[in-house]
Every structure is written in structure tokens, then in C-alpha cells.
């Protein structure tokens, strides 16, 4: 996360401005889930281990529980059958769904997506969007997504349009 900004940044009523690097890492682990455009998963680990990683890092639950929760998340996203495969055996859409499962594992306050559908075809984009929508409606999960895809944006609840670092429309 960028530390060079002006003004105040609050997550869960706590200011992020004065936090140290290790504390920020903890915030990322506990309160934020990330979904990226390009690098999705660690190729050295199986799908399940990838999803479990942030949970193991948090250390709130035992390894067994984390595994169980990871399977749950994979089930929600409909990819529980791929759990023991390696990431490079999955399609792009499947990988992105695993990444979302990983973002969800610690029940974060907010999920941030950096062009999560930017690298996917129409069909997979649709699947990812459906997943997001379901999360927003059923799990009341907050999502913050950056995208160039106008169609994708139109379907969301609130749109903030930016150009060259400035907000042009809200």
C-alpha cells in the first residue's frame, strides 16, 4: 500500500497514516482482500494452499480450521474440485476465482480489485462479476474495484470516474 499521500486514511475508524510497515502488513492481512489483474496465485503452491496462506499468516484459526474455511470459500465460488491442482493447471477465470477465494479467507472489511476482469474474456468476466455481485448482496461484502470496463462499472452501486489523478464525476 502506498504510504505517500495527503490527508487522512481511515480503515475501520483507525488512521493508517502513522502506522509502521509491519502494522500495515497486518492490516492488509486482516482487513483487506486483494484481487489483481495479472498475478493471481503463487505457482509453487496448490490452489488450496494459496487460499489458505493469508489465513495461516493471520494465525487466528488452526491449520485444520483454515483448511476447512478455504474449502468453504472455494465451494462458494464453485471451484472446490480444483482445490488440489496446481495454479498453472487452471484457466484464467478459474485462477481469478481462486484469487477471490483467497481475498475472502480472512473475512476482510473490504475487497480491493485492480482490474480484476481486465485480463479475462467476456464469459469469464461475467462469472467474476456474478461472484462479486453475489458477495455484495448476500454477504454484504464491500468491494472497491478499479476498472476500464464501462459495462462492468455500470452494474455497480456507486461509480467514481477519475482522469489523470483527479475525480471528474461522482
Amino acid at each position: 500500500m502506498d504510504t505517500d499521500y495527503q490527508g487522512e486514511l481511515l480503515i475501520d475508524q483507525i488512521s493508517m497514516s502513522k502506522k509502521k510497515e509491519a502494522e500495515l502488513a497486518k492490516v492488509r492481512n486482516e482487513k483487506i482482500g486483494f484481487v489483481f489483474q495479472f498475478h493471481y496465485l503463487l505457482n509453487e503452491f496448490s490452489v488450496l494452499k494459496n487460499v489458505m496462506l493469508p489465513g495461516l499468516k493471520l494465525g487466528k484459526y488452526s491449520a485444520k480450521e483454515v483448511e476447512f474455511r478455504a474449502m468453504e470459500k472455494l465451494k462458494i465460488l464453485g471451484i472446490e474440485n480444483e482445490a488440489l491442482k496446481m495454479p498453472n493447471q487452471l484457466s484464467g477465470g478459474q485462477k481469478q476465482r481462486v484469487a477471490i477465494a483467497r481475498a475472502l479467507i480472512n473475512d476482510p472489511l473490504i475487497i480491493m480489485g485492480d482490474e480484476p476482469t481486465g485480463n479475462l474474456d467476456k464469459k469469464n468476466s461475467q462469472i467474476v462479476f456474478d461472484v462479486f455481485k453475489e458477495l455484495a448482496i448476500e454477504s454484504k461484502q464491500t468491494l472497491l474495484i478499479v476498472t476500464h470496463d464501462g459495462e462492468f462499472a455500470q452494474k455497480s452501486d456507486r461509480i467514481i470516474e477519475m482522469e489523470d489523478g483527479k475525480i471528474i464525476r461522482q
Binding site: 509491519a22 489483481f36 498475478h39 503463487l42
Partner: protein, 379 residues
């Protein structure tokens, strides 16, 4: 929990590119192996070359030098005591090489705790008579057993049995080259003439070879009593006392001390063989320079591979950080990888280094010139 996670991540990263990891580890193994082997070899060689001199040289030698008296008669005259007296063309008097009162000196030395052993010696200048020709030579009268114990005399005796020198009366161990010139076989009788002109017949009981041609041409050994007979001296005549210390580094100090106490000249090994110490220092320096270069090369090897690994894993690092790992923890993962490569490689390196050293130790190596340099003999 956290440490376990970091371990498992490091392990997964290493196993994912196990060939790369293996190459790095093999690099470490190779350099540690060569470091151990080379330094072991060089050290052994150093010790061997040192021992060629150290084994043969007393740490301290007590003797009487032929030199003019320091106090000339004029200095004793009360009228001139306080003045500067210049005396020219001073010659040494008498030239008595004998160490006076040597029996009591030896018994005093034997009580000294710093001393490992002592061996008395007589140096006698002689001519070997071969038909009509006389060859110059030196006969050292030695206490055979003490000489063998302190200076490994038996290793330099190449023919015959060294102890015969003590058991056979009027016997001699000839220098190899001298023996060849005289065509003297073991069991033959040779004739020597002392500097005073006395003739004596000696039985050859062995050959002596130091490896240095010039020494082997003139140097021979006889027992102390035989040497006393050659010189026509009484049985308390001794010209040298050779001392071996427990700690060679004390030699200069102890030499000064003995010189003052016993009123004799004393030379320590450091003064007598200063060139040898320099040579041995330089050899050590070179071998360590080579060894440290090897280690540095290995270090850069690991550094390079780790660098490449980190570069390749940029994506993984980004994901790890996004999922809540701090920079420090990511650093720890990679340091752990480097440490385990270094540790495992180092262990194997030590093992192979030992194996190579053993192999070198068992390679047959014999040289005719210096019979004491061989791998088949254990010290």
C-alpha cells in the same frame, strides 16, 4: 506458527526450482571441498617442509665460538682502566671448543621443565683416506638414542641399522655421497685422519642421507666415545649441547638466559634459520589467499543465484505482501533459502573435503632424493 509458515514457503520456493537450488548448492559444496582439501594439503606440505628443518635442528645450541677475548690485558691494568684502549691485530687464543663443566650443565638442564630433551654432540674435522687421496669431512659424535628421539636420526639412515652405531665399537655411518665416492659398502673398514694427524680405522655400519648433496658429501656420524677417540680427547669432552624445547617460541629468550648462566655461546633456531621462517610464513599466506578467494567466489555464486531468484519471484513477493506478509518476513524467506543452501552445501563440502584429504594422504608418493618425504610413513 509464523516461523513454520515462513519455513514452508521457503521450502516450496526452493523445491519449485530445485535444479537452480541444486546448482547453487553444488557450487558451495565444490568451493568448500576445495577450500578444505587445498588448505589441508598446503598445511600438511608446510608442516612437512618445516619438519625437514625443525626435526634436524636443535631449538637451542650451546657451544664455544673461537673468538678473541673481549677483555685484553691492558684493560685489566689499573692505570688504563678508565681510558679507551685500542688494540689492533687481536688474535683468538687457544681455541678451546670444549664446553667446560658440561656434565653439571647437562644435569642442570635435565631438571629444567621447559626442556623436552637434550643431546650432546662433538663436531670433529677429519679426512677420509681413500687410497692416496684425502677427502675432507666432518664427523659428528652423537648420543645415538637421544639424537634419534629428538631429531629422528633413524629416518635419515638409508642403509644399515642406526643403532649399530652405538652397539658396534669404532663404527661410523657415512654420508651417502661420501660412501659412493669411497666405494665403501656396509661392513667395510675405512680410515680417517683427524685434524691433529691421528689415524683411526672405522667400520661402516650404515649410510646417512639428508637429501642435500653438499651435506651428504662431508657429513658422517659416529658415537660420542668414538668421536672422542678420533680426536684423542678424554671422555668428558663435548663441543655442543643441543636442546629441544617444549615451546619453540621461547627459544630466543631461553638461549639468552643459558648463554649468561653457563658462559657459553647459544644460538636459537629462529636466528639460525630466519630464512626458513620467512619462507614458511609466505607459503601460509599464499595458501590462505587461494582459500579465501575460493570462498569469496562461492559467496558470489550464492548471491547471484539468490538475486536471480528474487528477480524471478517479484510476482510472488507482490502477492505475499498483498496477502499480509511484511517486507521483513519476505526478506526472512529469502535469507532462509540462502542459509539452507549455504548450510547444506557447507556440510557436504566438509565431508567431501575430508574424503579428498584422505585420498591425497593415501596417494603413493616417494622421492629417492629425500627418503624422509613419503606418504607411506606415519608420524
Amino acid at each position: 506458527m509464523n516461523t513454520k509458515l515462513i519455513f514452508s514457503i521457503a521450502k516450496a520456493l526452493m523445491l519449485a526450482r530445485w535444479k537452480q537450488t541444486l546448482v547453487a548448492a553444488v557450487g558451495v559444496v565444490f568451493s568448500i571441498t576445495m577450500f578444505v582439501t587445498l588448505l589441508g594439503f598446503m598445511n600438511g606440505l608446510n608442516d612437512l617442509l618445516d619438519s625437514l628443518i625443525l626435526n634436524r635442528t636443535p631449538h637451542i645450541r650451546l657451544y664455544n665460538e673461537i673468538k678473541p677475548t673481549k677483555i685484553q690485558p691492558i684493560d685489566r691494568d689499573p692505570n688504563y682502566k678508565s681510558s679507551h684502549n685500542f688494540v689492533e691485530s687481536v688474535k683468538p687464543n687457544g681455541g678451546r671448543l670444549e664446553i667446560y663443566n658440561n656434565a653439571s650443565i647437562i644435569s642442570t638442564l635435565k631438571k629444567d621443565k621447559r626442556i623436552l630433551g637434550i643431546s650432546p654432540k662433538i663436531a670433529a674435522q677429519v679426512f677420509y683416506n681413500v687410497g692416496a687421496i684425502d677427502m675432507t669431512g666432518t664427523i659428528s659424535g652423537i648420543d645415538v638414542e637421544a639424537e634419534n628421539k629428538l631429531f629422528k636420526f633413524s629416518e635419515y639412515v638409508v642403509g644399515g641399522n642406526y643403532i649399530d652405531l652405538k652397539n658396534v665399537p669404532n663404527s661410523i655411518i657415512l654420508g651417502k655421497v661420501a660412501a659412493e665416492k669411497m666405494l665403501a659398502e656396509i661392513g667395510d673398514i675405512i680410515q680417517v685422519t683427524s685434524a691433529k694427524g691421528e689415524r683411526m680405522q672405522l667400520k661402516v655400519v650404515g649410510y646417512f642421507q639428508s637429501g642435500l648433496q653438499d651435506i651428504d658429501k662431508v657429513q658422517s656420524y659416529a658415537s660420542i666415545s668414538t668421536a672422542q677417540k678420533i680426536l684423542g680427547k678424554t671422555n668428558n669432552y663435548i663441543t655442543d649441547i643441543q636442546i629441544k624445547l617444549h615451546d619453540i617460541n621461547q627459544a630466543p629468550d631461553i638461549a639468552r638466559e643459558f648463554s649468561a648462566i653457563f658462559e657459553v655461546d647459544a644460538t636459537d633456531i629462529q636466528t639460525a634459520n630466519s630464512q626458513f621462517e620467512t619462507g614458511s610464513d609466505i607459503r601460509t599466506l599464499i595458501s590462505y589467499a587461494v582459500g579465501i578467494t575460493l570462498l569469496i567466489v562461492a559467496g558470489f555464486g550464492i548471491y547471484n543465484i539468490l538475486n536471480m531468484m528474487i528477480f524471478e519471484k517479484m510476482d510472488s513477493i507482490a502477492i505475499l505482501k498483498a496477502t499480509g506478509f511484511s517486507g521483513k518476513e519476505v526478506q526472512r524467506v529469502f535469507i532462509l533459502i540462502a542459509l539452507s543452501i549455504g548450510f547444506v552445501g557447507g556440510l557436504f563440502g566438509l565431508f567431501f573435503g575430508f574424503v579428498f584429504s584422505v585420498i591425497i594422504d593415501n596417494l603413493p608418493f616417494n622421492t629417492a632424493a629425500i627418503p624422509s618425504v613419503t606418504t607411506s610413513k606415519k608420524y
